[in-house]
């Protein structure tokens, strides 16, 4: 996420967080949350590092990382576009919205654009069912996304001005 900071700084931050915990092994998920927040994703070396610091097998760390959908081992783009695929959005056209986004971004859900600007993902229900179908860009919810034009306008806001 913060490209300017050196990996060493990240490791120091992570280490001091781990040191502050009284129960270490039990807090594996919390540590992974923290690590993903500073690194943006959880590459092999970070998982390996956590395993050593928590004194648990790296297979256990990998097992947990691969189990939970919140954790990712692939770096994401600058902006993360999520399509809500909860039931309420589904019956109000989430599939069409997803297809339209795939069209406009020219990537499939789960992929990142070659310029590293957008990552397209799906998630389940953000509780804004009254605005269905919704897309969420960097945590900001955009509702009633029925028209290609509206979708295009939302994406344009996140594109660097050329």
């Amino acid at each position: 996420m913060c490209d300017s900071a050196s990996p060493n700084q990240f490791a120091q931050k992570l280490d001091s967080y781990i040191d502050s915990l009284t129960h270490k092994k039990e807090n594996l998920i919390g540590v992974l949350h923290y690590a993903q927040e500073i690194y943006g994703y959880l590459p092999d070396n970070v998982q390996w590092h956590i395993a050593q610091r928590l004194d648990i097998p790296s297979a256990t760390v990998y097992g947990v990382v691969s189990f939970y959908s919140f954790f990712t081992m692939i770096p994401r783009g600058e902006h993360v576009v999520n399509v809500c695929t909860g039931t309420a959005c589904f019956v109000r056209g989430a599939e069409k919205l997803k297809e339209e986004l795939e069209n406009q971004l020219k990537i499939k859900a789960g992929e990142t654009t070659p310029d590293n600007l957008f990552t397209l993902e799906t998630l389940r229900c953000v509780g804004a069912c009254g605005l269905a179908p919704v897309m969420i860009v960097d945590g900001e919810v955009h509702g009633r996304m029925h028209e290609a034009q509206d979708i295009n306008e939302v994406l344009a806001k996140y594109r660097p001005e050329s």
């Binding site: 092994k25 954790f71 039931t87 309420a88 019956v91 953000v126 804004a128 069912c129 009254g130």
Partner: protein, 659 residues
């Protein structure tokens, strides 16, 4: 003691971490810990004035409210928040500030009002006026017209779409609702413990600690008939009793706030709108079952709820309501937050416990039940958020009060997240035994665009679809199970004539397939095979034999899967097969989709209305439309992708039809 009014500017800070005085004793005044019940009562008496303006018995006319201290409540529920309510609150403060009205008119952002369809909403007290679909641009008008001139802003008042009648108060959406779990949601400012205390907060805890014995508390719960609101409906009192009776040196209480059903946001609304009620109930549970530690397992996808919980826990500690010697008793209890990481199966209690322990959230075989051997091998009681939110009022008002509400076997109320093709999407709390018709047509205002109701989906991926003929059956745990669905956590999705039931079943199957943890074969492989058969059906490639196999496999999975997720995964298929079999037959035998949803079964045709403009020819990605200018075109059905691009382009009504 601080009685400062909680202002919006600080609520808006929430993305930047906890920085409130209440939350951090180091920064602000150090509050005295409450040493006994008298101190609590005294604090309540002092805090009552915080809510004074909002306690409206007879609403004051807008004119008469001039000069009184007014409270403007800007809905901060998930829906309104998404459509810009924080910005509205901010603009209101700016406008009021500009006119020097901030002393007289205070702005708050409480939890969800429930009527999400008409959001962002604001309520003004003591005038008791509600404005709907407020935008940033309306703020100046509201301040000028309502606050300064004393006139109602007519165009922001709710209008019944059918009768065109306007309602500034008593909006019909709230008729027939009864708020117990949501009693404080949308009413108090959730980040101020004093408002919760003013609304009888922590009184139930005091009653339990000083006037009741643990078994008496359990008895009250058993008599009240409260059952788990997470879905399965296990009696809460019995669960507490089992945990209490397990011999151990340590017991735990866990609040299950891993609300994973797609389309359900009840628990989120309670956590965001009234976090202290959950903490108080956990304290009561702790003292009744003999636990000194509690955990709240909350989804990482709910940052606002996490933030509010952090503030609430810090405030409760500061006032001595968490920690050692609570209210001067010898009871010690503390609560820790644990974040989920996006796994639906973690809503299952054994999986949730493993996740708290830092492992993969896979379920284990029961027995032993968590009440016997749970977190770190100790007896553990896992309760859902909504269940807990019901407990303080039950303790205060008694088991008889609660058991008088609802049906014979299902007591109290249930919160539903009403969504889908219904006019009034929102959060509703109704007494058990209310019929689907009342919820969908009276409260929900009927189906969108005057279409026909087809089915109601309850219970999320574990539930089923309820057809029209059961619209009048009262909703409770037993009746929903009897008609092939289940209560679930409370998602209620309304489907209309345009929804294909096979496609809906496929949607839920895709969900359970995705979320299956992989521990048992029945679920891991079974849900995948079910999904494949459903895909075949929606693509028109299935035979009647596939349909038989589908049904057989459903029953096998139900009988053999390890946990609730797998056992209930086939429910959406079984219930749609039961009530909408003819739709499956249409897909399999006639190769058509009656609702016109399944793409592969659609057929695009150009009729004689075609004027030969060639627009569709140019747009077709397969170049499978032929025809010359001013002559009727033809689609090559063999090569058609059914993408619908031609129909989107066509400007002549009825020239391209899809069936």
């Amino acid at each position: 003691m601080s009685t400062q009014v909680y202002t919006i500017s600080r609520i808006l800070n929430y993305e930047h971490g906890v920085s409130t005085k209440e939350a951090s004793p180091k920064e602000g005044k150090c509050h005295m810990k409450l040493k006994n019940t008298d101190a609590l009562n005294e604090l309540q008496a002092q805090s009552l004035k915080l809510l004074e303006s909002r306690q409206v018995i007879d609403s004051v006319g807008t004119k008469n409210a001039q000069g009184l201290v007014r409270h403007v409540m800007v809905c901060g529920g998930p829906g309104c928040h998404s459509s810009g309510s924080p910005r509205i609150a901010e603009r209101l403060e700016e406008e009021l500030n500009k006119r020097g009205l901030t002393e007289q008119i205070k702005v708050f952002q409480p939890g969800c009002f429930g009527f999400c369809e008409k959001g962002p909403m604001i309520e003004i007290f003591p005038d008791n006026v509600t404005y709907c679909e407020v935008s940033e641009e309306d703020v100046t008008t509201i301040v000028e017209e309502h606050f300064i001139q004393g006139n109602l802003v007519e165009h922001l008042v709710f209008m019944d779409p059918n009768t065109k009648e306007r309602f500034a108060t008593n909006i019909p959406f709230y008729d027939g609702q009864l708020r117990i779990a949501l009693r404080n949601v949308g009413y108090i400012a959730p980040e101020n413990i004093l408002e919760y205390i003013a609304a009888d907060g922590y009184q139930a805890l005091a009653k339990v600690l000083f006037t009741m014995k643990p078994f008496e508390v359990i008895d009250v719960l058993k008599q009240s008939g409260l059952r788990g609101r997470g879905g399965a409906g296990f009696p809460t009192g019995t669960k507490w009793e089992f945990t209490r009776k397990s011999e151990a040196d340590q017991r735990y209480i866990i609040c299950n706030a891993d609300e994973g059903d797609p389309g359900a946001f009840m628990d989120r609304s309670v956590l965001e709108g009234d976090p202290h009620s959950v903490l108080e109930a956990m304290l009561i549970a702790g003292s009744a079952i003999g636990a000194s530690e509690g955990f709240i397992y909350v989804r990482a996808e709910y940052p606002a709820a996490i933030h509010r919980l952090k503030i609430a826990i810090a405030q409760a500690r500061e006032y001595g309501l968490l920690g050692k010697g609570i209210l001067g008793s010898d009871f010690c209890f503390d609560i820790e937050l644990k974040l989920g990481a996006g796994a639906f199966v973690c809503g299952e209690e054994t999986a949730l416990i493993h996740s708290i322990e830092g492992a993969r959230g896979e379920p284990s075989v029961k027995p032993p039940f968590p009440a016997q051997k749970g977190l770190w091998g100790k007896p553990t009681c896992v309760n859902n958020v909504e269940t807990l939110a019901n407990i303080p009022p039950i303790i205060l008002k008694g088991a008889e009060w609660f058991s008088a509400i609802g049906t014979e076997k299902s007591k109290g109320t249930k919160v539903f997240a009403l969504a889908g093709k219904v006019n009034n999407v929102g959060l509703v709390e109704v007494p058990m035994g209310t019929t689907l018709r009342q919820i969908i047509f009276d409260i929900g205002g009927g189906i969108k665009q005057r279409k026909t109701f087809k089915a109601a989906q309850t219970g999320g991926p574990s539930g089923g679809c309820i057809p029209t003929k059961y619209l009048d059956s009262p909703i409770d745990y037993e009746s929903l199970t009897a008609i092939g669905s289940m209560m679930g956590s409370g998602g209620l999705i309304v489907l209309d004539e345009d929804d294909c039931m096979v496609n809906i079943a496929k949607f839920f199957q895709e969900f359970t397939m995705d979320e299956s943890c992989g521990r048992c074969t029945a679920c891991r492989v079974g849900t995948k095979r079910l999904y494949e058969i459903l895909t075949k059906i929606t693509e028109g490639k299935a035979s009647l034999e596939d349909l038989d196999n589908l049904e057989r496999l459903c029953h096998i999975i139900k009988d053999t899967a390890l946990c609730g997720l797998g056992q209930s995964a086939p429910n959406p298929i079984l219930s749609t097969l039961k009530y909408f079999r003819e739709e499956y037959i249409a897909h399999v035998v006639d190769k058509t989709c009656p609702a016109g949803v399944c793409k592969h079964l659609l057929k695009y045709e150009i009729t004689d209305k075609c004027v030969g403009c060639t627009l569709c020819v140019k747009k077709c990605p397969m170049h499978c439309i032929t025809g010359t200018v001013k002559k009727r075109h033809i689609i090559d059905q063999e090569r058609c992708l059914k993408c619908g691009a031609c129909m989107d382009q066509c400007r002549v009504v009825g020239a391209i039809i899809c069936h």
